[in-house]
């Protein structure tokens, strides 16, 4: 099962990549919003770990684009954000994210959430 990691912080990507691989998922990496959207359409990952604050396109925009795209609409999206304000949560819900985690996150919680979403 493919998981896309979309984040502009290399060290966070490293940790996420290690985690997902350890859980046995196939990992694709995107460094910004545009790459992420392209990767989603091209690779059709089952799940995206999507950073909210990315250059080129924010996570929210990516999510909105995914939800309005027939072909990839069903992609699970777990949004990660370093801001964690109420408005961000609301914004995430507004564009249709499946789950939401605030950085810094607990690796165990994250893995559990990913498993839950892919179950």
């Amino acid at each position: 099962m493919k998981v896309l990691i979309a984040d502009d912080e290399p060290n966070i990507v490293i940790s996420l990549e290690f985690m997902m691989k350890r859980e046995g998922y196939e990992v694709i990496v995107a460094r910004d919003g545009k790459q992420a959207l392209d990767a989603i359409r091209r690779e059709r990952p089952a799940l995206v770990l999507l950073d909210a604050m990315m250059p080129e396109m924010t996570g929210f925009d990516v999510c909105a684009a995914v939800r309005s795209d027939e072909t990839v609409r069903d992609t699970r999206i777990l949004m990660l954000t370093a801001k964690g304000r109420e408005t961000d949560l609301a914004r995430g819900a507004g564009v249709g994210v499946d789950a939401y985690m605030t950085k810094p996150f607990s690796t165990r919680d994250l893995v559990a959430k990913v498993k839950e979403l892919l179950a």
């Binding site: 966070i12 940790s15 460094r31 165990r108």
Partner: protein
């Protein structure tokens, strides 16, 4: 002589004109284009004061006693001088409390007492009867003179059906019924009537002036000529002195004073004056003009009285002809028949005007204050819930009109011939003057009580009856006159015209003196004897303080406590006003309360409003009786009155305070709004900053926590992997501590709490040191650094060297981050001019894209994307700029994309520290 049919036709034509005018004005009123809402018309309607007495009687008086006809017109002038104070208050009170007659006014003032209303009504009716007789006498006399020719002092026997007086009385009854009682009105206003009266006033003035001009310039050569020719007659010697023609001792100054005072009171309290001035008033503002136009009218109509009186005597010979007919007989005998006819119509007009208004005013009182309250007390009548009473009310009034006119006719037949017109009129004046103390006193004296008013009215009226009315009947021979001189039962001290042996006064002054003395003494004495009851006190306040207590924005306190059922009030209003008017009333009331009509709360205020409306239709006394029949009234105590007053004044106080508050609030609101805008933008900035800091802190924390947890959870991790993770953890920790330091630094500088250790700084040395300190950094990136400092150095400046070093290190490390991997070159240049020093740090990196150039000095705006961007906090440049600004300098970026970036700053030579905010 003029043929009777012609005189009748002229009279009829005049009456028809009145009908037409009244009908026109009524129609205009229903269209909402009132013709009487005009100060001139209003003023002319006041001239109803001038009746046949003025028209015929003044000349008669003047012929006998010269200027003695004048006090009756000087008095009203004195009253009008204070009209703005007195009449305006009467109007305000009457309109606020829906008062439609003098009886209502007095009864309401003293606690809405039906008994008091009845007494006032009785006094008025009895007092007015002689006056009405006077008009009938004048008209019938005039008619007789015109048709039968002037026969000195002749009174032909006439059969009743050819009796002009009776015909006039009946015609007047018809006219008054048609225009006075067509419908019930809560204001008792009769627009058509007022217009007709104004016309009538114009007509009598024009006719009288025409006769005066005819006599003065037609028959004589001006006023001077009349007087010159009068000098030849010994009978007229001394006529125009106060002492009179007879030269009988000293002038009677007491009578002069009494007449002025009496007429002054009469101009305010005569029923017809009250009707026209107060009840028919459509706007207080009209009083301003009417108050001076009315006395001017009186002056005009009196200008020719003396010329006619004296001229008539010169022509006819003194005492040969009844001077009261001069206005008619002069033109008639001198061949001016048409003028005589006009003069007769003018006189008719003067008489009819008075008759109509007086009977309307008096019939309203009789109906509302005498008949209705009695009817309502009849068992079974007041509680009968069905049936519309409006028709009954109108019929009572119609009957009252006919009744009053017939009473006048009766008096005319009984006593009319014994007296001159003027004497009859004065009898009436003296009677009506009895209500003046209670009426005027009640408007200004809060201590006056019902008992005082009652005592004063009854006492004064009794004395009037005994000293003036009774003798008038005795003199006409209807009752034995023996008691006149000897007193009743032979007690000389009680002789009606010489009470207690008071002689030396004429009968009018004598009666006026005693009646008003008794009246005022009882009024004041009885009022002092007992404190006002709660109801009296509350009404006293409402009347005396009408200008301060009752205006629309500040409703008067309602002195009523109790409960009523809405249906009862509604059915009551329906019976008295008619169903449709009652509906309108309750809709209006509901609208004022802001609820639907069925949801009206029958509280004290509503009951009060309904009662006031009913008072307009049936008078205060009747309305009181009717409302209390459907409402359970709680007795009002003095404490209750004070409580209500307290509430009202508190409410008023609150309202005033609220008004002031709302004004200052409005101001404060706008200030607050401005401040809030400012705060919002500040807040927005702070919020942005906090959110950015949060983000910047969480990002390294995320890596540290995630990698650490992974290492913990993966004991069998390969060593290289673990080392890489540890290295990341360490570098992210460094990033974190750097960030924390810089945020603190930034906060300190921004809040002005940063420490500045200033000393003399040699910028050349400082820049060289900074370059040396970062040389390792550049070497690691394989970049070359060139330093250019002017020969001979640069001037020393005063600044904090550590802070400037921080700026240099920041700029250098920035450059080091962005130089290309190969062939990196950084140029550091120090230069000086007259004003200051410039430091440039130029690299050959990618440069800053145009869109980002404006924001590189903002916090957390790091150039480039995260992947290619060297690690940084996004606070270095903002802090550097803050430092440079602190020393009065400035920092800027000069960059062409693709050709490197040049960050530079300038410091002034005489570097003064900026005043910290």
């Amino acid at each position: 002589m003029i043929a009777a049919p012609l005189v009748l036709a002229a009279s009829l034509a005049y009456l028809l004109t009145l009908f037409a005018i009244a009908a026109f004005a009524d129609r205009r009123a229903t269209q909402g284009r009132s013709v009487i809402d005009n100060p001139w018309i209003y003023a002319l309607s006041w001239a109803v004061y001038c009746t046949a007495w003025t028209y015929f009687g003044s000349v008669g008086t003047a012929a006998v006693s010269g200027v003695w006809f004048l006090p009756i017109y000087l008095g009203p002038l004195l009253a009008m001088l204070v009209a703005w104070i007195v009449v305006r208050k009467m109007v305000r009170i009457a309109q606020t409390y829906r008062i439609t007659s003098i009886a209502d006014f007095i009864a309401s003032r003293y606690g809405t007492s039906p008994m008091l209303a009845a007494v006032v009504t009785l006094i008025t009716v009895i007092g007015m009867v002689p006056y009405i007789a006077l008009q009938l006498k004048a008209v019938s006399g005039g008619f007789h003179l015109l048709t039968a020719g002037p026969t000195p002092h002749a009174e032909a026997a006439i059969v009743w059906w050819r009796d002009g007086a009776l015909l006039v009385a009946l015609a007047m009854a018809a006219f008054t019924i048609v225009f006075g009682t067509r419908h019930l009105d809560v204001y008792e206003r009769h627009e058509g009537l007022v217009a007709a009266i104004a016309f009538e006033s114009m007509l009598k003035l024009v006719a009288f002036l025409a006769v005066g001009a005819f006599v003065t310039w037609g028959l004589f050569g001006g006023m001077g000529d009349i007087w010159a020719r009068a000098q030849a007659l010994p009978e007229l010697d001394g006529l125009l002195r106060l002492g009179g023609a007879e030269k009988a001792g000293a002038p009677d100054y007491a009578r002069w004073f009494a007449l002025i005072t009496l007429s002054m009171l009469s101009a305010l309290v005569l029923p017809r004056q009250f009707q026209m001035m107060v009840v028919e008033c459509v706007g207080e503002r009209h009083i301003r003009r009417a108050a001076w136009v009315f006395p001017a009218y009186l002056l005009l109509i009196n200008v020719f009285v003396l010329p006619i009186a004296i001229g008539g005597q010169v022509l006819f010979g003194p005492g040969k002809m009844d001077a009261e007919t001069f206005v008619l007989s002069l033109p008639l005998t001198q061949g001016a028949h048409w003028l005589a006819l006009l003069a007769f119509v003018g006189g008719l007009s003067a008489a009819t005007g008075m008759l109509i208004v007086e009977t309307i005013a008096v019939s309203t009182m009789v109906c509302n204050d005498l008949v209705m309250p009695s009817l309502l007390r009849l068992p079974g009548f007041g509680t009968r819930q069905d049936g519309d009473l409006t028709r009954l009310l109108l019929n009572i009034r119609r009957a009252a009109i006919v009744g009053i006119l017939m009473l006048g006719y009766l008096y005319f037949r009984i006593a009319g011939n014994a007296y001159a017109l003027v004497s009859i009129g004065l009898i009436s004046f003296a009677a009506v003057a009895q209500v003046a103390p209670a009426l005027l006193g009640g408007m200004y004296w809060r201590g006056a009580t019902k008992a005082g008013a009652f005592g004063g009215l009854i006492g004064g009226f009794a004395v009037w009856s005994y000293t003036l009315m009774l003798p008038s009947l005795a003199k006409s021979g209807w009752i034995p006159g023996g008691f006149m001189d000897d007193g009743p039962f032979g007690i000389g001290l009680l002789a009606p015209e010489h009470l207690f042996g008071l002689t030396g006064l004429d009968n009018l002054t004598h009666s006026l003196f005693w009646s008003l003395l008794v009246n005022v003494t009882l009024y004041v004495g009885l009022s002092f004897a007992r404190n006002p009851s709660a109801r009296e006190a509350s009404q006293a306040l409402l009347f005396a303080d009408v200008f301060t207590r009752a205006n629309s924005s500040d409703p008067a306190p309602v002195f009523w406590r109790g409960a009523a059922r809405l249906e009862d009030l509604r059915s009551l209003a329906g019976r008295l006003l008619g169903a449709s008017r009652a509906d309108t009333l309750f809709q209006d009331l509901a609208q004022q309360q802001g609820v639907a009509p069925p949801d009206l709360v029958p509280d004290a205020r509503l009951v009060d409003r309904v009662e006031r409306q009913l008072a307009g239709a049936v008078g205060a006394a009747s309305a009181r009786v009717m409302v209390s029949s459907v409402a359970q009234e709680e007795p009002l105590t003095v404490d209750g009155v004070f409580e209500i007053l307290e509430e009202a004044s508190q409410l008023r106080g609150y309202a005033r305070a609220l008004e002031e508050k709302s004004l200052s609030l409005e101001q404060a609101t706008s200030e607050l709004r401005a401040a809030n805008e400012q705060l919002k933008s500040l807040d927005h900035l702070k919020d942005d900053f906090m959110s950015s800091v949060t983000h910047e802190l969480r990002t390294p924390l995320t890596s540290i926590r995630a990698l650490s947890e992974l290492m913990l959870d993966t004991p069998d991790m390969e060593t290289e992997q673990r080392e890489e993770f540890l290295r990341i953890v360490v570098s992210e920790s460094e990033r974190l501590s750097r960030l924390v330091n810089q945020v603190l630094d930034m906060a300190k500088i921004e809040s002005g709490n940063a420490e500045w250790r200033n000393s003399d700084v040699d910028m050349g040395a400082l820049v060289s040191n900074a370059v040396r300190a970062t040389s390792e950094l550049f070497r690691g990136r394989h970049a070359a650094v060139e330093l250019s400092v002017p020969d001979g150095g640069v001037p020393v400046i005063r600044a904090d060297p550590d802070r400037l070093t921080q700026v240099m290190l920041n700029l250098l490390s920035n450059a080091a981050k962005f130089v290309p991997e190969e062939h990196g070159r950084v140029l550091v240049a120090l230069d000086s001019d007259e004003d200051g020093l410039t430091v440039e740090v130029r690299d050959n990196g990618p440069g800053v894209p145009l869109k980002d150039q404006a924001s590189v000095f903002e916090k957390f705006r790091q150039g480039g994307d995260a992947l290619t961007r060297p690690a940084g906090t996004g606070l270095g440049l903002p802090i550097s700029r803050q430092i440079v600004n602190h020393f009065g300098g400035r920092m800027w970026l000069d960059s062409q994309p693709g050709q490197g970036a040049c960050f530079a700053f300038w410091l002034p030579l005489g570097a003064r520290e900026e005043e910290e905010p």
